[in-house]
Amino acid sequence: MLEHLVGKKSNKVLTTVERGAVKKFAEAIGETHPIYTDREYGLKSKYGDNIAPPTFPRTFDYGSIEGLDLPKAGLIHGEQSFEYARPLVIGDTFYCSSLVESYVEKTTKTGNLGFLTLLNIGETESGEVLFKSRIVIILTETVRELMKHGNHSNA
């Protein structure tokens, strides 16, 4: 039901890697390595400052994709990946955006499921890609029914 959105992109959102946000995030995942939170350690490191944990880009805003109106409840997070050119350093500023990469429906033993793959990208103003992140969201039949009704009432 979302096949028509494949290839659609979001707007780009200007994003900065913030020191306080990284510290809070590192604490929330039980990470204690000084490269994330100790200023002195960061300054002496090869990056010249603290860096962000690998899953930190999940906290960024990737804009909104016209026509993609996912419900807040009932979604299943199936898969997630991150790929980096280099670690993100405190103060890095770049643009985040999202692309609908694919949508397929498959019949599995738990019913007919929709698999939506979003490709999230962080790139500099000159187009240098710093990271890519893929998220696979699983939409059950129940969720897809609700989305149809939601769209209907908005029409």
Partner: protein
């Protein structure tokens, strides 16, 4: 200090045992990540969604699991990290974080990684490439 460059394919990294998941862990992660889906923090909302109780954010478990290579962060960084979410993680569950070196290609170390519950169920499983720089 631990060095990644003495590892050989097949070697396991030291397992990290996480303490039992608490509600506060998930409230903190919600705040730090901006993911306020109430099935991770509010019992009634979890039950309304057909769950026996609140469940950890998949990304909380994925974040925990990323720590497995932290002893080597002075040598390089996580170049790629990819997982699939399997079993749900409930309050009180205890994750064991594990990694095994699969192969080495030049300066890239490919690990198979997983977070396993105290029941033996795999919660999160995937691969991680650590690049030495």
């Amino acid at each position: 200090m631990a060095t990644i460059q003495t590892l050989k394919p097949g070697d396991q990294l030291p397992t990290i045992e996480c303490p039992p998941v608490t509600r506060l862990d998930l409230i903190k992660y919600a705040g730090a990540s901006g993911d306020y889906n109430p099935i991770h923090t509010i019992d009634d909302e979890a039950r309304k969604a057909g769950l026996p109780g609140i469940i950890a954010h998949g990304m909380w478990s994925m974040g925990q699991l990323s720590r497995i290579v932290s002893p080597y962060l002075h040598e390089g960084f996580v170049k790629s990290y990819s997982v699939r979410f399997h079993a749900m993680v409930f309050l009180g569950d205890q994750l064991s974080l594990k990694a095994q070196l699969q192969e080495i290609q030049n300066d890239e170390y490919l690990f198979n990684v997983e977070a396993v519950k105290q029941t033996g169920e795999v919660a999160v499983k995937g691969t991680l490439i650590f690049k030495v720089i």
